[in-house]
């Protein structure tokens, strides 16, 4: 039996004494910060290196901040670095990358979201086999498919054009995206779907007017995944898009992979970070949506 304690004998009113230095919290932040160290160390090296001049890089400590800060590598990476005969830096491919990425992201997500929707709400015959094949497809190393895909595109008469890259990215985005969308849609209340059917909305009506607006978050997630993937893609862009559409990664590759010459590490780092800037921006902008998004969908209505 609990001992009877005189009432109000102890414990003053008020907020729980929130010790700022609570050991558990300290541990928590300590772990997080150690993790930050691990994740940020390479970035630190990259940023520092990109701000140094070559002589300093040759001699210096890779972790040390630059003695003399120079932004020249950044400028050079963006607008002066040479690719073969053209010396226009990454800038040259930037718009091509945009041209490839935007439609590819849109088309691949459109296709995958519809497939995910069909797989979760309209269980058609063989949908399970289909889904299994998709999952399987996500494991096929894509370079292996290069030759057959080239042949397919040639037969379709789109080889070397933007539609070809879009097609390829759509195909390769299918497995993971479909999985993502399917699992998300499956978490939405089924009654909404039923209500929409009673309301006379068809396959597309339900999808476009009811589900899509509710799924903005998962679309954001998928966008992030696809933008990252497609923006950083090199092989498909070069092989399928045609010379006139070569993406920015070609320039990046050329800057970084110049095999016979001096490696300008500062330039390489600057170029990499510049190339990563677009996906990175997308992360920053959508950071909040990213998580709140999935969570909102996972909560049953």
């Amino acid at each position: 039996m609990p001992t009877s304690v005189p009432i109000d004998a102890y414990s003053p009113h008020g907020r729980k004494p929130k010790r700022i230095m609570e050991p558990r919290r300290i541990m928590l932040y300590a772990v997080l910060l150690v993790a930050v160290l691990y994740y940020i160390l390479p970035l630190w090296v990259m940023v520092m290196t990109s701000l140094k001049g070559m002589p300093e890089i040759r001699l210096g400590n890779i972790f040390a901040p630059p003695v003399e800060i120079t932004f020249e590598p950044w400028v050079k990476a963006w607008s002066e670095a040479c690719t073969g005969l053209k010396c226009e830096g990454l800038r040259a491919g930037f718009w091509n990358s945009v041209q490839i990425t935007v439609p590819s992201v849109i088309v691949s997500m459109a296709v995958a979201s519809v497939s995910g929707y069909a797989l979760s709400f309209w269980k058609f015959r063989g949908s399970e086999v289909f889904f299994t094949i998709l999952i399987f497809g996500s494991f096929i190393p894509y370079q292996v498919m290069l030759y057959p895909l080239v042949v397919i595109c040639r037969e379709l008469g789109i080889y070397g054009t933007l539609p070809a890259v879009i097609l390829i990215h759509t195909i390769f985005g299918m497995p993971i995206l479909t999985l993502l969308f399917r699992n998300y849609f499956a978490s939405l209340p089924e009654e909404l779907f039923k209500a929409a059917r009673v309301d006379g909305a068809g396959f597309w009506g339900i999808f476009l007017k009811v589900l899509v607006p509710m799924s903005v978050p998962i679309f954001v997630v998928a966008t992030i995944l696809q933008i990252t993937g497609i923006w950083n893609d090199f092989l498909f862009g070069v092989v399928f898009a045609g010379t006139q559409n070569w993406p920015m990664t070609v320039q990046l590759n050329n800057i970084v992979n110049s095999t016979q010459g001096v490696k300008e590490y500062n330039l390489n780092m600057a170029a990499t970070m510049l190339t990563g800037l677009v996906p990175l921006t997308v992360y920053f902008l959508s950071g909040k949506l990213f998580v709140r998004g999935i969570a909102a969908g996972a909560v049953k209505g």
């Binding site: 039923k194 009673v198 309301d199 909305a201």
Partner: protein, 359 residues
């Protein structure tokens, strides 16, 4: 009377589990049918079948003289209110109401007219431009009803529309629905767990159990002359008292725990002698008296009394069985008091203990 909904030999299986078994149901035009039954008995499933949201395993469904067994939900002329509202969260109330109409390519003017009318009926005019997230439970419920309303259909299907509301709001909306029905004259099929709702709203109540309709009758009939033991026990709150005994004296008396009660005035078939029978008496059809009356009363001991607002429920034991009796709240009975119970046999129900059917 013309039949509005006709369900014929409906069978529905989920995989190996048979949820609805050979179910038949005829609903007249303008009728208000309430489906009542324990959780999991297939009420929502039946509603979903009517709405065309589930594919039947067998049987047919006719609505307004048309075989709609394979018709799409929106072609059936039904409106449905879902248990969980199922409002489209990203649309305003107006959007929710007009979505179905837009799908049917109705002219905007007509849509506006109907939305305005529904909003007026349901008193949600000021809410039209809010989103469901910003509505209280009761308001959401009304929007859900409104969504069915605007479709101007002949048949409304309601799946426990009021189950998540507090008592006050619930009784307000109950009256609202009743009025709505009186005004529109639609056919209604209404699922609920709430007996008051069932009893006050229904023209006929269908009591279901395990995918089978046990009884389909007017509320008072269901209440007063339950077809079998299950219905008797299920309907009425507090529930009916069951006395296990035997019919003796060539059907003229009911013997329980050594006492025999005369069955004269019993409203039902002529009882015959039965070794095992059950007499069901509702708590309000028992009087607590202090003097025994031969052939009319049985002795009992007060166990507990439960005041519940206007009335009290007195729990008593008699010959091992437990009974409840409803008395006005003013009448207090101390636990342990020995009393006698006078049963109103005219309002009681007698069941065959084997078949469980009412005699």
């Amino acid at each position: 009377m013309k039949s509005s909904i006709s369900v014929r030999d409906l069978t529905l299986n989920f995989g190996a589990v048979s949820v609805l078994k050979n179910l038949n149901l005829e609903v007249a035009e303008g009728e208000f049918i309430v489906l009542l039954g324990p959780s999991g008995c297939g009420k929502s499933t039946l509603l979903n079948c009517l709405a065309g949201l589930l594919d039947l395993s067998d049987g047919q469904i006719w609505i307004k003289g048309q075989n709609v067994t394979w018709a799409e939900p929106n072609e059936r002329g039904i409106g449905m209110v879902f248990q969980s509202y199922a409002l489209y969260p990203q649309m305003t109330v107006r959007g929710n109401l007009s979505f179905g109409l837009k799908n049917a390519r109705m002219p905007q003017a007509e849509i506006d007219r109907r939305v305005a009318r529904a909003a007026e009926i349901l008193q949600i005019g000021p809410l039209l431009d809010r989103k469901p997230g910003a509505l209280s439970g009761g308001q959401r419920q009304r929007v859900a009803i409104g969504r069915a309303l605007v479709r101007d259909v002949d048949v409304f299907l309601f799946d426990e529309p009021l189950s998540n509301l507090d008592a006050k709001l619930r009784s307000e909306l109950r009256v609202e629905i009743k009025r709505l029905h009186a005004r529109l004259g639609n056919t209604m099929v209404y699922v609920t767990h709430d007996q008051i709702e069932a009893l006050t709203l229904a023209d006929r109540i269908a009591v279901m159990r395990g995918g089978i309709i046990q009884q389909l009758d007017a509320p008072q009939t269901i209440y007063n002359k339950p077809a079998n033991l299950f219905v008797a026990g299920f309907i009425g709150s507090p529930s009916m008292n069951f006395l296990h005994g035997a019919v003796v004296d060539g059907g003229r008396g009911f013997s329980v725990a050594g006492t025999v009660i005369a069955l004269e005035g019993y409203d039902g078939g002529r009882p015959v002698e039965m070794a095992k029978a059950i007499l069901g008496v509702r708590p309000e059809h028992i009087d607590i008296v202090h003097e025994p009356e031969s052939g009319r009363t049985i002795p009992a001991t007060v166990e507990l009394d439960e005041p519940m607002g206007a009335d009290s429920l007195v729990w008593l034991t008699t010959g091992g069985a437990q009974l409840s009796v409803r008395v006005p709240v003013e009448r207090r009975l101390a636990p342990g008091t020995a009393v006698h119970l006078r049963l109103d046999v005219g309002k009681a129900s007698l069941f065959d203990a084997v078949t469980e059917q009412r005699v």
